[in-house]
């Protein structure tokens, strides 16, 4: 019978990705309810020494495949390795980070294992019989759907990074580490990696950013704002005031004569909320405004409004995050 919750523990250049630790955390919670074990899948080349970290973060068993064919992420070898392990151990559930790796690998696997896959989940629950309830946004975040996969195993899902909580690591936790060898079908290895280049993303388009730290005349120094944006995976934008003052480039101006943006989160720091500014940002999903003037029009469109000094709040946010 299908049993246990398996977690694909994504690593890049031998570094375990934080989404993997988050998944171990949620898997542990689920496994406690369903009376199952958390099994980590650690795939890569020269990665076996990372198994203890996975145990510390909640894995009861770690299956390690340490093989040169897994040195770089390529769909087919990763799919073959997990398919072999899944066929041998019959997991009840299998979780992946909803990253550009997880969202490539998991659907391929689901089709090979002939089972269902739920995409980009933001909430996971389980009952005592091990049935998963997977909740996910669709229609551009306007709708949340709870998906089940009652008759096929493993129940698979990709999970949005940054949503689940990782456990406090406990390096005294005991876990079993099992090393696996894979019977490769190399005739299927037909994708050749010509090069792999790391990129640090710097300048990006504000229209495409998921999060904007937008500043107006009430912000005097942009370095802290820049820091905050980087920490939150977003970028800085501004009102026309700062653009006219030469503090910010025109391609970062929000508003009628600038760009129209619709990020998931829009911070308006020290921006009054003139109609020409609002025209460019009021469709944002969630607006946080910080302004010293209680009657500033920006508060009319903000989901969360704070009457406070913007510079000081930015500083505190940087301390907290």
């Amino acid at each position: 019978m299908a049993k246990n919750i398996f977690v694909f523990c994504e690593q890049r250049d031998g570094e375990i990705q934080s989404v993997a630790l988050e998944l171990l955390g949620v898997a542990k919670q689920l496994a406690t309810v369903s009376g199952e074990q958390v099994c980590a899948l650690l795939l890569g080349s020269n990665v076996a020494d990372k198994a203890s970290q996975l145990v510390a973060y909640g894995a009861d068993v770690v299956y390690v495949v340490d093989d040169v064919n897994l040195a770089q992420f390529v769909t087919e070898p990763y799919t073959q390795a997990i398919t072999q392990i899944a066929r041998e151990y019959q997991p009840n559930a299998m979780l992946f980070g909803a990253t550009s790796i997880g969202r490539d690998l998991a659907p391929r696997l689901s089709a090979r294992l002939k089972t269902g896959l739920t995409a980009d989940c933001t909430q996971l629950e389980i009952d005592q019989d091990g049935n998963l309830f997977m909740t996910r946004p669709a229609f551009g975040g306007n709708l949340f759907a709870t998906i089940v996969c009652p008759e096929h195993k493993p129940q698979m899902s990709t999970v949005r990074p940054g949503v689940m909580k990782m456990m406090e690591p406990d390096y005294n936790r005991q876990g079993e580490v099992v090393s696996k060898t894979i019977a490769w079908d190399k005739s299927k290895f037909v994708v050749e990696v010509v090069e792999e280049v790391k990129e640090v993303q710097t300048v990006e388009k504000i229209e495409e950013a998921k999060l904007l730290v937008s500043c107006g005349r009430g912000v005097k120094d942009l370095t802290e704002a820049q820091n905050l944006a980087t920490k939150l995976g977003g970028t800085v934008s501004a009102s026309r005031c700062l653009v006219d003052a030469g503090m910010v480039d025109h391609n970062r101006q929000v508003g009628q004569t600038g760009k129209t943006v619709r990020p998931q989160v829009y911070f308006a720091f020290g921006i009054s909320g003139a109609i020409q500014h609002l025209a460019g940002m009021e469709e944002s999903e969630y607006i946080v405004a910080v302004n010293t003037d209680k009657s500033a029009p920006i508060f009319k469109v903000a989901n969360l409004g704070i009457v406070a000094d913007a510079q000081a709040v930015i500083k505190q946010l940087n301390k907290l995050i």
Binding site: T99, S100, R108, G116, A145, V190, K294, F299, A302, G305
Partner: protein, 259 residues
């Protein structure tokens, strides 16, 4: 070289609003469009057609009105269009959808299958890789550049923190990012020409597929319930010191899964 582009007709979700009273999606009057990633995939195909003489077909699965999307693709320069439509296909999840589309591709034959990375309504990004598995061909996802060089595709594959340049022989499947390719407009000659063209229907009887594997019955995942985003009409303004303010902001955004 024969290319099949899979396009999906979707509601323009950036125009979908939530009715604050009923708390349901307001879909009336929301225009249908070709999914943006799929339009970029079509642009890739049309550039390959210009550069190395490829033949470009478009396929969509959907209701009769999805023909509009196919006609737009023809007017952009696609050669033939196929509409997969049958009541037996309704209610399919991504696995069942990919099974049906793969069966049509098998029937039509293709050296290269292009998909969008993700559809903006279902938002799963699963159909492309699943089609590739059913066809037993390699996949490359998240493509920001696709070229045909010495009998193989050379694809720039994006990750969050890096890119790979991959070389993959045909047959293969590639999923394309909309940010990378700006789709061309329909052109007058092709708008006129598409009027003469047939959109060919493909139904259940035209493909080899096990009825157990498609439709609602053949879908391993089921939508158990749906809810709309809580309508945040309540605007809250707080007068706080910087420290409490920062904490409130972080807690609220975390609770809403926004950071």
């Amino acid at each position: 070289m024969k290319i099949i582009v899979c396009i999906k007709q979707v509601p323009n979700t950036t125009e979908i609003k939530i009715d604050p009273v009923t708390n349901t999606l307001k879909r009336d009057g929301v225009p249908s469009i070709i999914n943006p990633d799929d339009k970029a995939a079509l642009e890739v195909a049309l550039q390959l057609k210009e550069n190395c003489g490829a033949h470009v077909d478009v396929v969509t699965m959907g209701p009769q009105q999805a023909e509009v999307a196919l006609r737009e693709a023809l007017a952009m320069g696609a050669d033939n269009a196929y509409l997969l439509t049958d009541r037996a296909f309704a209610g399919s999840d991504t696995l069942a959808t990919s099974t049906i589309i793969a069966s049509a591709i098998k029937k039509l034959g293709a050296d290269v299958v292009l998909c969008g990375r993700q559809a903006i309504d279902g938002d799963t990004a699963q159909v492309g890789p699943q089609i590739a598995e059913h066809l037993d061909i390699p996949q490359v996802t998240y493509a920001s550049q696709v070229d045909y060089v010495d009998g193989a595709l050379v694809v720039k594959r994006q990750f969050e923190d890096r890119y790979q340049t991959l070389r993959v022989a045909t047959p293969c499947l590639v999923t394309v990012l909309s940010s990378a390719y700006k789709p061309r407009y329909m052109n007058v000659a092709d708008i006129v020409a598409q009027d003469q063209k047939q959109v060919e229907a493909i139904t259940f009887n035209d493909v080899v597929v096990n009825p157990e594997d498609i439709g609602l019955k053949g879908s391993p995942t089921k939508v158990k319930s749906t809810a709309t985003k809580q309508f945040d009409k309540q605007i809250a303004t707080y007068e706080l010191g910087a420290e409490e303010a920062a904490k409130l902001i972080v807690d609220t955004l975390k609770q809403k899964h926004l950071i």
